[in-house]
Amino acid sequence: MTNAAESLINVFFDLLLLPFGTLPPVWGLLFISLLSGLGMIVVFRSVSNQEKISRLRRRMGGEILGILLHLLNPLTVVKFAWKLIWSNTVYLAYILKPLLVIAIPFMLVWGQLDARYGAAEMDGNDQVTVTLSFDDGLPERSGLQIEVTGLQLVPPVMFIDTLDEVSFRVIPDGAPPRYLLISGVSIQLGRIGRRNGCRILRGFDSGNSLRRLFDPSIVRVDKIRGGAVSGSYSLPDIRYGVLGGHWSWIAVFLVFSSLSAIAGAKVLKVKI
């Protein structure tokens, strides 16, 4: 079930970003950010009680005005301040429902963006350390066969008995896609396609877990003889040139989704 959901979401985002595949990656990131902001505001309008929020905002405005008008009367200021705190609490309660509704899609978008825009593809002679974690003890040294495609294996292969882990290094060799073949099981690594905005894989997992739903940089693989296996490799972070600065994808997403949400609220007359 989770595997199907995982695939569905990945395909959905692949299609969404298809028109941006040949453009610099920041365009796809900006598009998703703006779309997310807009989407969130639309969901917020449909799920929240706009009438109640509107009324509450007017009341809060009155309470702020009350404080400003009675600055010389501390007792009245305290009374209004107390009311304002209460109104804020009520406001939080009003937006709890829309926030809960938005939370899951937000986490999915976050995971997709991290998987697609959070890391740079392997470059030049950059070495990547791959670590395989075995559930049921390490295989024999001679029993573990590692082959690579689109990569070069840099010896040695290191066995860490205490952790049930095997580590080795790879460097890119030619263009993606890149594969590890661990004892017959194929594991894709790095960028999965040539288009910008496609996922860049940073780990794999042979178990059934919800984790991959929210972290699509992890790819599902078959079990390796001897037990379940998972693994990870770190790829360098990437920055995007936006408005003369060097932004992480998180900064781009938060700023532009917020701007889009604010603009959407203005246009659609949504009370937030």
Partner: protein, 657 residues
């Protein structure tokens, strides 16, 4: 004014302005671009011999253009002093840098001469936390106006890459990346860490770095504590620490370093790429970034894991290393992390025997290769103005490998013959840099190659303080403290003079030093007596004079001498230098000893013995150029109306431009 008259005037004005401008120019036509290569320690004798051997074809082209000119250096000929002469056009009496090390005249406590950290003015203390209300800052101690200010004032773009004695970089319109003088993250000039479980390597000697004892408790894991910078937000400024777990696989002869979520796998004999580290001053609130490189010296039978000095991360610098501040991070984004410390080669690790000759040279090539990438990057986008680029490799590597050039070195015979070509290879690589600069020329570009000093052998160490004690100028009262630093052995009340730093001698003046013994009216006579005695010192082993000239600073420099200035500058003869013990104020038994440190070349001797070099595409009008002339001369190539005040114009031969 009628329309026709106005149009006439408008048409004539640019021509008139052009004519006026031409009238202000020197005989040379102004260059649109000037490339200046600052090659620290390039020696005229070595350069000449390598040119004649055919190792340096590009330098030969330049030599054919304006000759190979010895370039007058500073007194003392130490890099911070010499490059300050270059930058300001004046000597130490103006820029205030007399040695690598200065001392507080009152307490005699030594400090780095080029920069200092000034703590915050106001601090709130909560328990053992110290929260600053104002920011701390780093101050450049070099005074004087940099010559490029005149260029930038005229709108000429200036880039100074890895500029020495400019940490923190001058605020202004020039683009600057600090070089020599930039500390590592521990505030030193390069402090390594060596993790080992080899009892024979464990020592409490902290010179140049620390050895950390680690242990494998049977799980093939070593927990290595990495000491970072001091935490000024905690009482007592304890060092910030992070942990790295080092997993070893002895069968594969490899290890994996797990550090702050990153895993680095290395086999024996490998250097890691740059590894980023974050040290928390206040967890999750305030942290500083550093970068370091690991080197696996040995895994079996004993772990020997070397960590380079922690460099300031150019991507997120904890201290100001560039101007504008985004310059270093832009470079790091384009090229990846790079060495930011002023002395990037791990010379101390070689001196301490932590790294072998081969391992050290490997690291030195990494430094040079990184520096070449930086140079090519900057050269490729250099369009207009002045580009200064500094290379440290010759200086530091010849310090360490002069022993392969000089059969008189006590280490000549014992050095592996494989490394005898190391200096030649380095010169050859620098020649390729000169070639790249020449290839980037167009009809309006000049290329200058200059060095701050040459080189000489350092075969014998002179313990200046011991000599002072034997000659009665210092009084040792605690014999068992002789080898302790900071003059622990002597009685100040009966001591007339002391040595500190590489070339400096100070009178223990009663009106300046705490417990000073020499009244001001006796200082002159004492200095004259010291000069005579020092210049007559001979080495019993060779019969040669040890000191060529002992310069009385007040006679040598006519300007104002600050209280931290030395009273005498010792100009050692070729083959001699002050001992390492002298530089920190200890009193070993012997006055003269063989230098058995791989640090076998020096320039901290008499300036006449170690001139630098100047190669130029522009013809020279003066035959005795000096580092102090270079600012004015470079500025003159741009034809600007007001030249920097210091020095002479070597291209026109005048003092005014």
């Amino acid at each position: 004014m009628k329309r026709r008259e106005f149009l006439k005037l408008a048409a004539l004005s640019p021509a008139a302005l052009l004519a006026m401008n031409t009238g202000c120019r020197s005989t040379l036509s102004p260059a649109r671009r000037v490339i200046v290569l600052g090659i620290d320690g390039m020696d005229p004798f070595l350069l000449n011999s390598f040119i004649h051997e055919g190792v340096m074809p590009n330098a030969a082209i330049l030599m054919a253009s304006a000759g190979l000119n010895p370039l007058g250096t500073s007194n003392p000929p130490q890099s911070p002093v010499a490059w300050s002469n270059f930058i300001t056009g004046y000597g130490p009496d103006v820029h205030g840098i007399f040695d690598f090390i200065h001392r507080d005249p009152l307490s005699r406590a030594p400090y780095l001469s080029t920069s200092r950290v000034i703590g915050p003015d106001r601090i709130i203390s909560i328990s053992d936390w110290r929260l600053p209300l104002t920011g701390a800052k780093v101050e450049l101690l070099r005074k004087g106006e940099p010559f490029w200010d005149r260029l930038t004032d005229e709108g000429i773009p200036v880039s100074m890459v890895k500029l020495p004695v400019d940490f923190p970089p001058d605020k202004g319109k020039a683009k600057i990346l600090s070089g020599l003088g930039t500390p590592d993250m521990r505030g030193s000039q390069g402090s390594f860490t060596f993790f080992t479980d080899d009892a024979g390597s464990i020592t409490d000697n902290t010179s140049g770095g620390i050895v950390v004892a680690v242990r494998d408790y049977g799980d093939n894991c070593y927990v290595c504590g990495i000491r970072g910078p001091e935490n000024s937000m905690r009482a007592g400024n304890p060092a910030m620490k992070i942990e790295a777990k080092v997993w070893v696989d002895r069968d594969a002869d490899a290890l994996r370093i797990d550090i702050q979520g990153e895993s680095i796998l290395l086999a024996t004999g490998e250097w890691s790429p740059w590894v980023g580290m974050r040290f928390d001053a206040i967890p999750n609130i305030s942290s500083v970034n550093a970068i370091g490189r690991f080197y696996v010296k040995e895994i079996t039978p004993r772990l020997k894991l070397y960590l380079s000095p922690l460099n300031i991360d150019p991507l997120n610098p904890a201290l100001p290393i560039s101007e504008p501040s985004s310059y270093s991070s832009d470079l790091a984004r384009d090229l990846g992390p790079f060495y930011t410390q002023g002395f990037p080669e791990d010379t101390k690790a070689l001196s301490r025997g932590i790294l072998s000759d081969e391992e050290y040279l490997h690291q030195a090539w990494i430094v040079l290769s990184e520096r070449l990438d930086l140079f090519h990057h900057e050269l490729s986008r250099f369009r207009e103005g002045m580009l200064f680029f500094y290379f440290s490799s010759l200086d530091l590597n010849i310090h360490m490998f002069y022993r392969v050039l000089d059969p008189g070195s006590p280490l000549y015979e014992s050095t592996d013959p494989r490394f005898k070509g190391a200096v030649r290879e380095l010169y050859s690589r620098i020649d390729s840099v000169i070639g790249d600069a020449l290839a980037a020329r167009d009809g309006n570009t000049e290329v200058l190659v200059l060095s701050d000093h040459g080189f000489a052998p350092f075969n014998r160490s002179f313990n200046l303080n011991t000599w002072l004690a034997y000659e009665g100028y210092a009084n040792i009262t605690a014999e068992n403290e002789r080898n302790r630093d900071m003059f622990a052995a002597i009685d100040w009340a009966s001591t007339a003079a002391y040595g500190l730093g590489l070339n400096c001698l100070y009178i223990n003046r009663s009106d300046r030093e705490q417990n000073g013994a020499v009244p001001p009216e006796q200082v002159r006579d004492l200095l004259l007596r010291l000069k005579r005695d020092l210049e007559s010192v001979t080495d019993p082993a060779t019969g040669r004079h040890v000191i060529s000239n002992a310069y009385i600073t007040a006679d040598y420099y006519s300007g104002y001498l600050p209280p931290f200035a030395p009273d005498m500058i010792i100009g050692y003869a070729r083959g001699y230098r002050s001992s390492w013990e002298t530089t920190l104020g200890s009193y070993p038994e012997d006055v003269l000893t063989d230098n058995l440190d791989p640090w076998s070349g020096t320039h901290c001797i008499d300036p006449g013995a170690v001139p630098g070099i100047l190669l130029s595409t522009a013809p020279l009008a003066l035959r005795d150029p000096n580092l102090m002339d270079m600012g004015k001369s470079i500025a003159s190539l741009f034809g600007i109306p007001v030249l920097p005040s210091g020095g002479r114009n070597i291209f026109s031969g005048s003092n005014t431009g």
